[in-house]
């Protein structure tokens, strides 16, 4: 009998393929989804001998989806959700095979029995575990490279929108910073093993084998995230691999009955740290104090001070907590996800529908995401496997017409005594700007991102050579990355953007008439509207030749992949100003030609590569592997386009040696491994080999007509090529006492050479143009990683676990372009120091009256500071050096010294304890960063700004050890010099995530006709400990004006029907 599913699926696939050929229409997408939702898995059996049974795991948990096959026949069945199965067998001589992923298959002769309680034993966790590697998978036990894996289940159900925020702290090797909490832009910058280059530091991101943006995939559809760290691991990615590689694998169907799962949560977001500002009375008092210091009359009278204090005339003497009044509290983030998964031996499917909605700090800001995924894998013939996967999403973002950066800029400036809003709710203004109007009256920016990732692969065993197979994969992606920033895989994808900017009217209070006249406008005089269409397409073709066989104790694996990838991007925009009709459509705008504008451009990229991997192992003890890539890219001149990036690695499983097995039986597994190799990185921009001219937009007006611009681009460098990274890694993996303790240690060293530098300092400033970059920089990066894990299950069912990871990475510039002024001064030399080491003057403290004579002049011998007259309470700097290397009595750039570590942390660690007992499970993830410094550039009254509460602690003759220098109406040039005074320790520790879940007992579930249900409380950024008190420690703007990181507390529900 032919299996019905198989027939059915073949028929569907025929149609699917037709659809693909006819243009990947949306109907294909729809068809697939309907198919998976409706396609029932039906069996019919007509045989005589009927047997039944139950399959359980060695933990006595019923297993659903276990395939039950009759040996030597196509007939099969699978267990239902309670582990039960029934099957008709031809006769008593039949043999049943029970197989299930992750468990050792079991064979059972039928005999006279008709009921079979079967217990499947899980395959040795470590030995059986398969990890995703570049262009394939490998058994974990045979790995000779440094790879970390995060399981999909660990990142699902966290109340975060952007996947980059789910990775940090979970495994060793990831250094990250999250610089913003703004919906749609809240991703973390991820660095694998820190920063190894002055160029682009972004790791390559591969989703299901293809370079794609991964940040907004549905977390519930992620099977695993694999971090490729060392040379051997990244070698298959050639000139994409030097910064490390993140491999995302999405879920595929699982053998078993259809399982429908719902997962959803609702969470409440608030800034992790709410920056506090002075109130109106404090502001006015502080300003008067500044006036006193300058001998100027008080800006605020005693009457005004009293009014600010007693709030009796709020429209004349307002007192606003600006930031707090502009921001909403407890904004909502919700997610709903429905997954269907199942399959038989012949065809497996997974489909998912996801929805996420995230509110911002103010009404107009929100982010909605709709994800849809389907994946079908079919054994078309005995030797042919076909996989079709479609992964689409729509992102829908809305923001006020004024950007968040500008809103925060204005919010930080607006002092508490400015009329943010009046008592009747009308927006007021401060120096011609309306902070409240910026949010609600400014119009909007509405961005839509459509992404569709399609791929189909066919794998064919070649029966004439055992172990040989070929595979062809083609993918067509629509908007797989940001069109405006294709090289940054974390940039949001926007395919259509509409911006409607309206007048931002603001009002004043006229106390004489007690009216609120309209007095101004902080927006355009008349509405403006613009649209932008962005589109990118990527075509990737891969041809694989796979070989795997063993001869005696030798095991050989070979892989060759040929890959070709082309992308095309086009951008088009148009806009009009001076709208008389209040309807945002281009056609409704002014018809005057000077009110109409448009622009557009296109980009194209090409890449061709050949990948290989050869692995040999002997007796499960000794492993050797060679891999690499011959890679070509359009960036460079003909003749400089192709490069070869090889790597070698080796491993030795000591635990398989007799001397360990006999003497140390507690060592379950022990392996040492090492790798060495080269990889590359594209840096800079393409076409620097061409001497060329760039066309710009409007450049000048002649004859009252705007004319275009044409400028010389930088001078060509025909020899420009990629960066090269030489990486070494030595590691140790251990598993002791049967998994009670697992450990992984790695030491790595990388030397990046041929880094691109624009050699501006090698030509005079009079040269008048930049030179194209040249491959000349060298830097090293080394570090250490450790991962420790322990878990134990007590006999009473209590399970406790603890996972620790630690990453340290420190780089060093070995060769960079430097002027003599910095290179010849050992204090200022960049070479030999970590990249982005912070330099500035060394602050000694404050001047005191003892430093001045009676006339207020600095006493002789005090170094001269060139930034205007100084007074007691101003910052005093050290005269470290001079033109001759000796102190010269003057503060000049010769006195600059290193004052702080780079902003990117050198150390990231994670601590994750977990407990489960009966139905309860409880997991925490503490994540910390150390060895980083933040430069605090927040000054009171800077550029007419307000002041934070910290700034009330300023120097006075009676407060000599204040945090801030003497107060002035504008921070003085002397006190705002880049100096050690403003360096803050940026170390922090967070309770990054926490989750408490309860799984409802099965007995109760039966009544509800559900398979399982779990409810949970979860949180993100729940607690933060840091030296920086008034900002989040990951504050990304030195002046503090940025969209803060959010903490989220959520409740969720997970149901399997």
């Amino acid at each position: 009998m032919k299996n019905k599913i198989s027939q059915k699926s073949t028929a569907y696939f025929y149609r699917l393929r037709l659809s693909v050929n006819s243009g990947l229409s949306k109907s294909f997408f729809l068809l697939c989804f309907i198919f998976f939702l409706t396609g029932s898995v039906a069996f019919s059996q007509n045989n005589n001998l009927h047997v039944t049974g139950i399959v359980q795991s060695d933990q006595n948990v019923p297993l659903s989806g276990v395939s039950v096959n009759i040996k030597g026949s196509n007939v099969g069945s699978i267990t239902d959700k309670n582990g039960h199965f029934s099957i008709d067998v031809p006769n008593t001589k039949s043999t049943l095979i029970f197989s299930y992923v992750g468990y050792t298959a079991q064979t059972m002769a039928v005999g006279s029995k008709t009921y079979f309680p079967i217990t499947l034993v899980s395959a040795n966790k470590e030995l059986g575990e398969v990890v995703v590697v570049g262009y394939g998978t490998q058994k974990k036990s045979s790995l000779t490279s440094s790879i970390a894996t995060i399981k999909g289940q660990d990142i699902a159900a966290q109340p975060v929108a952007n996947l980059t925020n789910s990775l940090g702290g979970r495994v060793a090797g990831i250094i990250f910073t999250q610089g913003s909490g703004e919906p749609g832009y809240d991703g973390s910058n991820i660095l694998i093993r820190g920063i190894g280059t002055t160029g682009n530091t972004q790791p390559l991101v591969i989703v299901d084998g293809i370079p794609r943006n991964f940040t907004q995939l549905d977390p519930n559809t992620i099977a695993s995230v694999t971090i490729l760290k060392d040379a051997a691991a990244v070698a298959p990615y050639g000139l994409g691999g030097a910064n490390g590689v993140i491999l995302i694998t999405t879920k595929k169907g699982k053998l078993g009955a259809p399982t429908l799962t719902y997962d959803g949560y609702a969470g409440w977001q608030n800034p992790t740290v709410q920056t506090k500002f002075v109130n109106a009375y404090q502001y006015a008092t502080l300003f008067n104090a500044a006036d006193d210091n300058e001998g100027a009359p008080h800006a605020y009278s005693d009457y005004a001070l009293q009014k600010y204090k007693d709030h009796s005339e709020p429209d004349l003497y307002p007192d606003h907590d600006v930031l707090k009044e502009l921001e909403n509290r407890n904004t909502l983030i919700t997610s709903h996800d429905l997954d269907l998964s199942g399959g038989s031996e012949k065809i497996r499917y997974f489909a998912s529908l996801g929805y996420l909605a995230q509110q911002g700090l103010w009404g107009p800001t929100h982010y909605n995401r709709y994800n849809m995924t389907s994946n079908v894998e079919a054994d078309a013939t005995k030797t042919t496997k076909v996989n079709v996967s479609i992964n689409g999403r729509v992102e829908d973002q809305n923001f006020p017409g004024v950007s968040a950066a500008n809103i925060f800029y204005q919010a930080f400036r607006t002092p508490p005594n400015a009329p943010l809003t009046f008592s009747n709710g009308l927006p007021g203004s401060y120096i011609g700007r309306s902070a409240a109007g910026n949010i609600d009256e400014s119009g909007y920016t509405h961005n839509i991102g459509n992404t569709l990732l399609n791929q189909i692969s066919i794998e064919q065993q070649l029966p004439f050579i055992k172990g040989l197979s070929v595979k062809a994969l083609a993918s067509y992606d629509y908007n797989p990355f940001s069109a405006t920033d294709p090289t940054d895989p974390t940039q949001p994808i926007i395919t259509f953007s509409r911006t409607w900017l309206t007048p931002i009217y603001f009002y004043a209070y006229d106390s004489a008439t007690n009216t609120y006249p309209l007095v101004g406008n902080d927006g355009p005089a008349k509405p403006q509207y613009s649209e932008e269409y962005l589109q990118s397409q990527a075509f990737t073709y891969q041809g694989y030749l796979n070989y795997h066989n063993h001869f005696g104790k030798s095991d050989i694996t070979g892989l060759i992949v040929l890959e070709e990838r082309d992308t095309k991007t086009s951008v088009f925009g148009a806009g009009r100003v001076n709208y008389n009709i209040d309807v945002p459509e281009l056609n409704n705008g002014s018809a005057n030609s000077t009110d109409i504008s448009n622009y557009g451009y296109s980009l194209e990229t090409k890449q061709k590569s050949a990948v290989y991997r050869l692995a040999y192992s002997y007796d499960g003890k000794y492993y050797l592997e060679a891999s690499g890539r011959y890679d070509g890219n359009y960036y460079f001149a003909p003749g400089h386009r192709f490069g070869f990036f090889p790597a070698f690695s080796a491993g030795w499983r000591l635990s398989e040696e007799k001397f360990i097995k006999d003497n140390a039986p507690w060592i379950t597994s022990l392996k040492i491994r090492g790798s060495i190799g080269q990889s590359g990185a594209l840096a800079g921009s393409p076409f620097q080999y061409l001497s060329s001219y760039s066309v710009a937009g409007n450049a000048s007006v002649l004859g009252y007509t705007a004319t275009q611009g044409l400028t010389e681009s930088s001078q060509a460098n025909p020899n420009i090529t990629w960066e090269r990274a030489k990486k070494k890694d030595i590691g140790l993996d251990a598993n002791l006492w049967d998994g009670l303790l697992t450990a992984e240690f790695d030491y790595f060293y990388e030397k990046r050479s041929d880094m691109l530098f624009a050699p501006t300092v090698t030509v005079p400033a009079e040269y008048g143009i930049g030179l194209s970059q040249v491959n000349s920089g060298i830097m090293s990066n080394h570090g250490f990683e450790a991962t420790l894990g322990s878990s134990h299950r007590f006999s009473n069912g209590l399970r406790v676990g603890l996972d620790l990871n630690y990453t340290f990475a420190r780089n060093k510039l070995l060769q960079v372009f430097e002027t003599a002024a910095t290179f010849d001064n050992p204090n200022r030399r960049i070479t030999g120091r970590p990249l982005n080491t912070q330099f500035g003057y060394k602050a000694l403290g404050y001047y005191t009256s003892a430093d001045f004579d009676a006339n207020g002049n600095l006493l002789p011998g005090e170094p001269v500071q060139p930034w205007g007259t100084v007074h007691p309470g101003d910052i005093k700097y050290a005269d470290v050096s001079g033109p001759n290397g000796k102190p010269d009595g003057q503060i000049t750039p010769d006195d600059i010294v290193p004052i702080g570590k780079p902003y990117t942390p050198e150390i990231i660690y994670g601590i994750s304890p977990s407990v489960s007992y009966k139905g309860f499970d409880f997991t925490l993830l503490f994540q910390g960063a150390a060895n980083r410094d933040f430069y605090d550039g927040v000054y009171p009254f800077d550029n007419s700004s307000s002041a934070t509460i910290d700034e009330l602690n300023y120097w006075t003759p009676t407060n000599l050890h204040a945090e801030n220098p003497r107060i002035t109406t504008q921070p003085t040039s002397n006190n705002t010099q880049t100096s050690s005074w403003w360096i803050r320790n940026g170390s922090y520790l967070r309770l990054k995530t926490g989750q408490l879940g309860y799984t409802v007992p099965e007995a109760m579930m039966r009544n509800l006709h559900l398979q399982s249900m779990r409810i949970y409380v979860s949180g993100q950024n729940i607690l933060t400990w840091s030296h920086i008190k008034n900002f989040d420690p990951e504050v990304s703007a030195s002046n503090g004006e940025y969209y803060p990181q959010q903490k989220v507390v959520s409740v969720g529900l997970n149901v399997t029907f």
């Binding site: 041809g543 192709f642 001497s691 450049a699 004859g703 007509t705 010389e712 002024a821 205007g868």
Partner: protein
Amino acid sequence: MNQKNIKKSCLYLMAVLIVIGNFSCKKSLDASLNVIPGNSLTNASVWTSTSTADVFLNTIYGYLPDGNNEYDPFDNWSDNSICGYSWVVSRTEAQQAIYTPATLNFDQLPYTWSTLYTNIRACNVFITNVSSSALDTSYKRLRVAEARFLRAFFYQELWMAYGGVPIITNPLDISTQGDSVFRARNTSDETFQFIDSELGAIAADLPITAAESGRATMGAALTLKGWVELFDHQFAASAATNMQVINMGVYSLFPDFGSLFLPANNVNNEEIFWREYIPNVLGGRCDSYDGPTFTAGGAETSWGGVNPTQELVDDYDMDNGKPISDPTSGYNPQMPYVNREPRFYESIVYDGSYWYNDTIYTRQGIGSPNEIDLSDHDDATQTGYYLRKGLNDKITLGADNWNNGTSAQNYYYFRYADVLLNYAEAQNEAVGPDASVYNAINQIRERAQIPDLPPGLSQDSMRTDIRRERRVELAFEGKRYWDLIRWGIAGTNLNQELHGIAITVNNGVLHYTPVTTPGGDHKFDVSKNYLFPIPQSAIDQNKNLTQNPGY
């Protein structure tokens, strides 16, 4: 294995082989990665078409000073005005003359060393490539002359700011020229000679009237030449050159001084070289950068970037043509704004002036938002005055103007009044106050509707009158600082307290008291500040550059 499977396998193998085929030949492999960038042109395509070459030259016109987009104009570095807010370079850096080679920062002003050399390179690239191109000879003559004019203009700015500078007349290329790209400074005299001779050489190649307004003309070249000669104290030469412009007969003073600077009169016979603006496209922002800060309802419709000083105000004559220092002028310090000459009312917003649908009160004690800001707490005036000249209050002021650039008026680099004033000064210095000097200066006064200068002035008195006339006529046109430098009086005028006016009301009577004001305390070190320092970064990159004395 059945046939079907073999067939299938073959198909797959073919697919793989097609890909392998692509890798077979290195050359074709390279070629298969060819991508032609869509946004760039090559040497071959730029210099073979006049329309493309024109686009390159047009871009250089865009590098000329953008005077109507400055929120802290150069007059704030002089004794004419103070910026209404304190974070700008005129107050953080210029006021106390605390700029150093490491810190010198001109913000939006057009004197940045590396920027000027970028502009000069663009000129050199144009001149070199067009000269050697196969383009039409008449095209080459005209456009190369324009480019040489622009290059001379940029050298003029370098020379005034830094003195002698490296004179570079070819595009530098380190790969072919090696270390010779590291040029030493030419002397100030050599730099002057270069500018002067260039302008002399190309004047005849430029048209009397440009085909497109805003381009360089013969008049522009000669006016610039006369100006650098004046700056270099070559008085006789300057007088002769300026007389050449006068004798061209194409320029005359526009009858109405006040509206000369408004968009309605963008086309007039007085302008010689100027920058044009198109609102919303390449428009100006000066109307809401530099005008009176608060208007009706207390709305901030401008940043108040230019606050005229009492020192400037005192230099406006009475309407009888006499300076206020003249006891017979009729000036009453307690009624200071009565019967002043028309240019005062056309240039300055003072207490009680009308601006943008509002009366501007800078007096104290009546709760006016424009009250003189002696505590420096907002953008209100530091001096009790605001700028009117060159500003247009007939458009929507405020955010629309400063965000979108909606100002349309021209910015004049040179107008005929410059030529007359330059001539009068040069001739007075070279020869003395002859009739031609009177003629020139009185043309200015007649247009300003004030009586001629009295006859029989001594050379010194004439000098004083010319200087005051020049200050008033050219106020806020970016000229004053250079005048203080070349007259050698910066050590006095920029080394003192500048004043504002405190106006108090007592029983309905206004009282006027000059006061010192935040931002008014000026320093100028005569031992070094007559030249700006060469940026330290430029010296670091070129060991052949020597620093100006004192830095």
